[in-house]
Amino acid sequence: MFLRIEKGSAVPISRQISTQITALCLSEQLHPGDKLPSVRELARELAVNQNTILRVYEKLTSEGILDKRHGAGTYVADSPPIKQLKEQREQFYEEWQQLVRQGLLLGLTKKELKQLLETALASEAAEVSTVS
């Protein structure tokens, strides 16, 4: 599990860590049943306060993404909830909307924006086909 902390960000460090772990679970880079590092280990690795890591683990456990097993550590839950995915999608819609607004402000036309999306999709498709 590779996490990175962005220093000097307006986003609180606990949220940086929790969104990254959530994203890793949803994108199946972390699988149900995988063991996470202990609070102490992760705190040491990231050089972050142990209480911050503890809060993240507790929050994600209460959201059903992680599973805290007594005395045995913290694991990825068997079935990470759909709600989280929905929230992330909603956030994505919002960011998408902002991006479109920015484009329009920069004087791009609707047609140009559509063209940009097509190009991005095409290059993504090309990448996927070369990987597989």
Binding site: K7, S9, P12, I13, A47, N49
Partner: protein, 304 residues
Amino acid sequence: MSSTVLNVSRLYKSYGQQQVLKELSFSVEQGQIVAMLGRNGAGKTTTIRSLMGLIEPDSGEIDVLGFSPLEQPLEIRKRIGYLAEDQQMYGWMTVLETIQFVSAFYEQWDHKLVQSLLEQFELPPGAKVKSLSKGQNVRLGLLLALAHHPQMVILDDPVLGLDPIMRKEFNRDLITHLQAENCTVLYSSHLLYEVEPIADVVMILHEGCILRQASTEELKADVKRVIFSSGIAPLGIHQMRVIDAQQRSHHLALTVENFQETETELDQRGISYEVQDLNLDEIFEAYIIGDPKLPFNHQEPVEV
């Protein structure tokens, strides 16, 4: 569950005409890592020296682990690991000689711990102190501060002059050697980004008093910039505590320190606004040099 281990109340100190501490009050709970943030000359070192009994304040109360620094300095010295700003040790002594020299002052010196810290900190025991790098020097200071199992550690700007890699190592040391042992830590710094991942609580010290004491997450949730673009600025608002106000053409940006209450009131009154999240530097700046005294900060609504 947690108890107060350090309490400072209404501390005043002047050097001649210059007032350095002005009604300084704060407290620290057992096991917390507390960072004191402030510009040069804000009073960080004076505060720390007062805690150690090295300076006599003009007035005010200090309680460190139940002791008074002026009346019982030795009791405090026994229980606290202290690293002074730019602590100088004797350059002609070796690392080991320095450790032996300092150990003589403490009853509860842990030679085993020293041995393991020497290894973990990668300090060469036979090297002369004057040949150590800045980072090694700080680690030797930290080792000396930890070796008698203090209940609390007080560090005056420990990362001053350390490079980014050493700073991260230092942060890691705080987490693994002190937080893991439930040791209370109070340290001063002016590197906000280094402090953010580590501190349970930060204190913003300015001109000898604490402007705000809170966790960094609380600060980020509370202190936000609210931007109004046109029409009426919502300044009949009683709840909003503005710490900085800036006007550009057709825009008014107010940095508030109680965003939740501000938001509730703005929404209730149906006033539209944009919100900007701030990073620690911006929050610090708003507190330190923010100017809330623009004509907008009064009771009646004002046109933007």
